[in-house]
Symmetry: C2
Subunit: 293 residues, 2 copies
């Protein structure tokens, strides 16, 4: 690209991002090529801050939350673990920050309530992108580019959120993301079912293999076990926080899963071949609606 | 390779393979390069037989089981669905075939019993290789080459099985397979836990998403749901037969899984963060023992 080309119209010029983990790091790397965007970052971990300090393209780097709160920003982007995002929102309310705030957490209900209570201009976000590894060193711009990106507005924030929502939409479209809107409550129900429940399921399956077959059992496994348990290898602390924040949805869906499993178990134990065939044929046809990847 | 090089010492010269599906087709394609090996195949499906008939390297191709049984062979290799493998073994017993028999099915108990009852010289096998698609058109030599390959001897067959076992070991080592021996009963327990249970689990998870979120839910999913349910896309008929043959192991392990899920559900519903952290930390450490793939 020639140097004199006009930069894209940026909806925000001064971005302050908190939390340089897998998602925060990937967002920073994806936004870095945009000239005219001033990116400053905060992370609790001094080691990560040292690493980020070597990136010349970043305007400011700190491990001090008070310093983060003192920066002049057009947007604060919270990518901390979900519980600390909520704490930061409360802190921003007390500090009376003048700029709008978004986040990238996997649950949207609690942070939305916290931002309302704090009187912030806030709209949550959630990139549908992940790996079973965590941390800045695994982050990559390609994790975010082109992903499904959810924005979770809530009418109670009033008209200034509508304006923020439009700018957040434009901002993430710069990364090729496909934007969808969904309410925080509906988000937490949907992702309780198709993200948090799969994590719990993969973990329960790995845990059952551990209980019934450890330590030798892993030496026998093929791709079926590996695929089905893969997300169970994720660092658990993120998921524990998600489970605490979305506990009603998740525990309800675990109950639904147990009901489905019990139906399959009954058909298998009774050697009811027609019933098992009926159930599995319907399910496999449904699953095959998903494009191969 | 120069043409005058001596071929490898083949433990069998005339191979008759029944069932040109994903595994049977992949075995044929993997063995085809070995000069001096005469390969004949039987498949029930006339369309598959027509396709296989275009492969010049095959000595004989038929869709007639009586013709298959009339061929002079050094080894019969059964790769039909598991229930039809068992039927074929009984039929071979009635026909009094003089050659040894092996199979590639996912369950080893029932066919071993059937082969004993039929008076055959038999030793079961199981390549740990699979895809969530079936059929000859998806078969490939690389699916088998280098895979973990189980042989499942049983003392009740006596000394002639020992000799067969040695030859089967050498035969599959030609494909770079890593051979392990395990009894039929232990095989069915192990693979009930790490192959059949993951399939049931993936299906139950997809079925729960279908029941609670269809038809829109699939438009929201990310890699976690895709990975965890991937084997649930498999054609169900194979798995129904496997579940019927290994029903006691599988239904028992579903019970163990439900117990694990209930433990996680309780910790989540009660927002017992320390207990959930303890459980998930232990499980994720166990799962991470598996090498990345």
């Amino acid at each position: 690209m020639p140097k004199f080309k006009l930069p894209p119209r940026l909806p925000f010029r001064r971005l302050g991002l908190a939390g340089l983990g897998l998602i925060g790091g990937s967002l920073v790397k994806a936004f870095m090529p945009f000239g005219g965007l001033e990116i400053s970052v905060f992370d609790n971990n001094p080691e990560t801050v040292r690493e980020a300090g070597r990136i010349k393209r970043l305007a400011r780097v700190t491990s001090d939350p008070d310093e983060f709160l003192s920066w002049p920003l057009d947007l604060a982007y919270l990518c901390l673990p979900v519980k600390r995002n909520v704490e930061m929102v409360a802190r921003m309310g007390r500090a009376g920050v003048p700029y709008p705030v978004t986040d990238s957490g996997s649950t949207k209900g609690p942070i939305t309530e916290a931002a309302l209570a704090a009187g912030l201009n806030f709209c949550g976000g959630h990139p549908i992108a992940g790996k079973e590894v965590a941390g800045f060193r695994h982050s990559t711009a390609d994790l975010i580019r082109g992903c499904l990106f959810l924005l979770t507005p809530d009418e109670r924030f009033g008209p200034r959120q509508k304006e923020l929502l439009g700018r957040l939409k434009n901002f993430h479209e710069l990364l090729g993301c496909r934007i969808r809107l969904v309410s925080p409550a509906e988000h937490d129900r949907i992702y309780g079912l198709i993200s948090h429940l799969p994590y719990v399921t993969a973990s329960a399956l790995a845990g059952t293999a551990m209980a019934k077959g450890a330590p030798d059992i892993l030496s026998w496994v093929g791709t079926g076990f590996k695929d089905t348990t893969r997300v169970g290898a994720s660092p658990p602390l993120k998921w524990v926080e998600v489970a605490m924040e979305n506990s009603a949805n998740i525990s309800g869906f675990i109950g639904d899963l147990i009901e489905t499993l019990t139906g399959l178990q009954t058909a298998i134990a009774q050697k009811n071949e027609p019933e098992l065939t009926r159930m599995l044929t319907e399910i496999s046809a449904f699953r095959r609606l998903l494009a191969k990847d």
